[in-house]
C-alpha cells in the first residue's frame, strides 16, 4: 500500500501523457472523442491484490486510459491512431470473444506503453509503465458503466446475481448494440442537405482545434446565412474551406491555444467559425452585410479581431 501511495502520482502522470497525446491525435484526425485516464485508487488496488490472482508488479491495470467515440465505424481508425503513437500489444477485440450467439461487453482493449525511442521512456520505461487502453463507443460505454459498475460489481460483492437478472442485463447489451449499429448506419445514410453536409465537414475541422461542444442549432443557422455567399455548389465550398484550413492551420492552432488563456468570442467555439474566418478574409463587406441581417455586428467583430481582422 505504502509503495503504491508513493508511486501512484508517477503512474497518474504517465496516464495523463497517454491520454493527452491520444486526445490530440484523435481530435486532430477529426473524430469527436472523450479521453480520460486514471491510476488505480489505493483501496481498489488492495482489493484486487487480496483476491490473490496478481502480485503488485504484475497487476495489469495500474493505469487505465479510455477513449470514447460516437460511432462504431470510428473504432478501427482510432485503434490505428493509438498503434501509430505507442507500442500496442495484447489487442483484445472483446466482440470477437462473444461469437455469434452471445451479447455483452464489446470494447477494444490493448496494453500500451511509450516506445523505446520516445525520450519520455527514460522517465517511464515500458518495463514498468504501461496502461490498459479501452476504446469504445458512447453506447458501449453506457452499457458497460451501467451493467458492470452498477449491477455486477456492487451486487456481486453481496450476493450471486440470479440467472434471470443476468439475462436481463445481457439482453440490454443486445438492445444497445442494435442502437449503436443503427446510429452508425444513420450517420452514414441520412440524406443531408448542403447545410448539414457543410456542418459535418466543419465539425471535423473544429475537433482538430477544440473539444468544447458547440451549439449545433446556431451553427446551422449561421451556415444557412453564409452559404449563399459562396455562389457555388457545397462541394466547391468544401474545397475552398479545405484549402483555407490547410493555409491557416498553424494560425488557427495558435488562436485556439491562446483562447484558453482568457475570455474570447463565444463564436470561436462553433464549427462555423472557420467558415466565418474564410468569408471575412474573402469578402469582408459582403459577409458583414449578410451577418447584419440576422445577428449583431458586435459579435462578428469580436470574432474577426480574434482572427487578426479589423473592421475599422
Amino acid at each position: 500500500m505504502a509503495k503504491w501511495l508513493e508511486e501512484r502520482p508517477r503512474y497518474a502522470e504517465f496516464g495523463k501523457i497517454i491520454e493527452d497525446e491520444l486526445r490530440v491525435a484523435v481530435s486532430g484526425a477529426g473524430f469527436w472523442c472523450s479521453a480520460e485516464s486514471r491510476a488505480k485508487e489505493p483501496d481498489s488496488l488492495i482489493k484486487k491484490l487480496l483476491k490473490g490472482k496478481h502480485k503488485f508488479e504484475s497487476l495489469p491495470d495500474k493505469v487505465g486510459v479510455r477513449c470514447i467515440l460516437r460511432y462504431r465505424g470510428d473504432l478501427d481508425d482510432v485503434l490505428s491512431i493509438a498503434r501509430s503513437l505507442f507500442d500496442c500489444s495484447d489487442i483484445d477485440l472483446k466482440a470477437n470473444g462473444l461469437g455469434t450467439e452471445k451479447v455483452g461487453y464489446v470494447s477494444i482493449h490493448a496494453r500500451i506503453c511509450l516506445r523505446n525511442n520516445d525520450e519520455r521512456a527514460v522517465q517511464f520505461p515500458s518495463s514498468l509503465f504501461w496502461a490498459e487502453l479501452q476504446i469504445r463507443t458512447l453506447a458501449q460505454h453506457l452499457w458497460s458503466e451501467m451493467a458492470h459498475d452498477s449491477i455486477y460489481k456492487n451486487d456481486a460483492m453481496l450476493t450471486q446475481l440470479p440467472v434471470d437478472y443476468s439475462r436481463r442485463v445481457n439482453l440490454m447489451a443486445g438492445l444497445i448494440e442494435v442502437a449503436d449499429r443503427e446510429f452508425d448506419r444513420l450517420s452514414q445514410e441520412i440524406p443531408l442537405d448542403s447545410t448539414a453536409e457543410l456542418y459535418k465537414a466543419l465539425e471535423r475541422y473544429y475537433y482538430r482545434l477544440a473539444t468544447r461542444p458547440p451549439d449545433a442549432e446556431l451553427s446551422l443557422e449561421i451556415i444557412r446565412l453564409l452559404e449563399p455567399l459562396y455562389k457555388t455548389s457545397w462541394g466547391h465550398t468544401l474545397e475552398k474551406l479545405n484549402e483555407f484550413f490547410d493555409e491557416h492551420e498553424k494560425t488557427l492552432k495558435h488562436i485556439y491555444a491562446v483562447a484558453l488563456e482568457g475570455p474570447t468570442s463565444a463564436l470561436l467555439y462553433q464549427p462555423e467559425a472557420l467558415m466565418i474566418y474564410e468569408r471575412l478574409e474573402h469578402d469582408q463587406f459582403e459577409t458583414r452585410q449578410a451577418w447584419g441581417t440576422r445577428f449583431p455586428e458586435r459579435e462578428l467583430e469580436r470574432l474577426a479581431v480574434t482572427f487578426g481582422i479589423s473592421f475599422d
Binding site: H248, K250, T264, F285, G308, D312
Partner: protein, 345 residues
C-alpha cells in the same frame, strides 16, 4: 506588409509605459520613465492585443520601412533589440531611450502623451510595437513602486488604452523577418492622418519612428488614379455609374485630407457589385488597399477642369485633359461629344 495572420498570431511579451509631457517654452518638464515593465494579466493582455489589431489592421494603417537618412534612433534600437533574445533590463533601457527621443522631438504644438513600448513575438519572429497615447493634461497617472522601482500600474491600461473612446492612438509595428538590418515587415497608423491636420503634424510620427512609406506617396497616388480610371473605362459598363465613380475619384483626391484609403474608397463610392473586382484590380496594379499619403504632384494637371461661362449664364465644365473637345469661336461654343443624359434642376 503586416497581415491579419501576423496580427492573429501576435503574442505580447512585455509592456512598459513612459509619460511624455507637453514641452512649453521655458518649462522644466521632464519625461517620467518607468524603471521596470508593467505587469499585465492575461485578460488585459487580450484586450490590448484586440485594440492593436483594430488599429494596425485598419484601413488607415499603412506600410512603412526604415529610412536610411533618418536621425531617429528607433530603427537601430529596434534592429539591435530584435537581433538577440534580450532580457527585461535591456527592454527597459531600449524603451527609455525611445521615450527620451520622443520628448526631444516634442514641440509646444505636440500634446502630452504616454509612450507604450511592447515586446512582441509572431510565430517565433521577434518584434516591437510603439504606441503613443494622447492624454489630457493634468490627468492622473498612477505610478507605483515595485521592489523599489517605479512603474505605471494597470490602471493606465484601463484608462487610456482599453477604453472605447476616441483617444488618439499612434502606432508602429516592426516585425523581424530575417537577419538583415532591413528584414522587417512594418506598419503604422496615425489617427490624426485621416483628418485635416497639418502636413507637419501628420509627418511627426513617421519622423519619430525613422521610417518612410513603403510606396512613395507620389507613386501610390498616381497608380491609384490610373488604376481607377482604367477600371471605370474597362469594367464599369453603365455611363451613369462611370460618371459617378469618376466624380468621387476627383473629389476624394482633391479633398483636404492627407491620407487616402483605397479600401474605404471602394466601400463608400463603388456599387456593391464592383467592390470586390475593384479591390482585385488595384492589387494587380500594385496599389495598396490600406491608406497611403496623397501626393498629387504627378497628376495635378489631370485633375484640373476648365470651365466656360457664356453670356446667357451657361457653364460648360471640361476635364483639362479633354479640353480639345470644346471648340470656341466668337459667337459659338461647340462641344464635340455625344449626349449621355439630361438632368433637370
Amino acid at each position: 506588409m503586416i497581415t491579419s495572420k501576423d496580427l492573429a498570431a501576435l503574442v505580447i511579451r512585455r509592456v512598459i509605459f513612459h509619460d511624455i509631457p507637453q514641452k512649453f517654452r521655458g518649462s522644466a518638464a521632464e519625461v517620467t520613465t518607468s524603471e521596470i515593465e508593467s505587469e499585465i494579466d492575461s485578460t488585459r493582455r487580450g484586450h490590448l492585443k484586440a485594440r492593436l489589431i483594430r488599429v494596425l489592421g485598419s484601413k488607415s494603417s499603412y506600410g512603412i520601412a526604415f529610412s536610411h537618412d533618418s536621425a531617429s534612433p528607433v530603427p537601430d534600437q529596434v534592429r539591435s533589440y530584435t537581433a538577440t533574445a534580450p532580457e527585461a533590463r535591456e527592454f527597459v533601457m531600449m524603451s527609455q531611450k525611445l521615450a527620451a527621443y520622443l520628448f526631444e522631438q516634442h514641440t509646444a504644438a505636440v500634446s502630452a502623451g504616454l509612450l507604450c513600448v511592447l515586446d512582441i513575438v509572431v510565430d517565433g519572429a521577434p518584434g516591437v510595437i510603439l504606441v503613443k497615447l494622447e492624454r489630457e493634461e493634468g490627468a492622473r497617472l498612477e505610478l507605483t513602486d515595485h521592489e523599489g522601482k517605479r512603474t505605471f500600474d494597470m490602471s493606465v491600461l484601463d484608462n487610456l488604452v482599453l477604453t472605447d473612446g476616441t483617444r488618439l492612438f499612434k502606432t508602429a509595428m516592426f516585425l523581424r523577418t530575417g537577419k538583415g538590418a532591413d528584414d522587417f515587415d512594418s506598419a503604422a497608423c496615425d489617427a490624426q492622418l485621416g483628418g485635416a491636420s497639418s502636413e507637419d503634424m501628420a509627418k511627426f510620427w513617421l519622423r519619430f519612428v525613422g521610417c518612410k512609406f513603403t510606396i512613395e506617396p507620389k507613386i501610390a497616388t498616381q497608380r491609384f488614379f490610373e488604376a481607377t480610371l482604367k477600371f471605370i473605362n474597362d469594367i464599369v459598363p453603365d455611363p451613369i455609374q462611370k460618371n459617378d465613380i469618376y466624380e468621387h475619384l476627383q473629389s476624394q483626391l482633391k479633398a483636404p485630407k492627407n491620407m487616402l484609403s483605397p479600401k474605404s474608397f471602394a466601400e463608400n463610392y463603388l456599387p456593391k457589385d464592383f467592390q470586390k473586382s475593384f479591390r482585385e484590380h488595384l492589387q494587380v496594379w500594385g496599389v495598396p488597399l490600406t491608406s497611403f499619403s496623397k501626393d498629387l504632384s504627378d497628376i495635378q494637371s489631370r485633375l484640373r477642369r476648365r470651365e466656360f461661362h457664356t453670356e446667357h449664364g451657361i457653364t460648360v465644365v471640361v476635364p483639362e485633359q479633354s479640353s480639345d473637345v470644346v471648340e470656341i469661336t466668337s459667337q459659338r461654343i461647340v462641344v464635340n461629344d455625344s449626349l449621355r443624359k439630361v438632368d433637370r434642376r
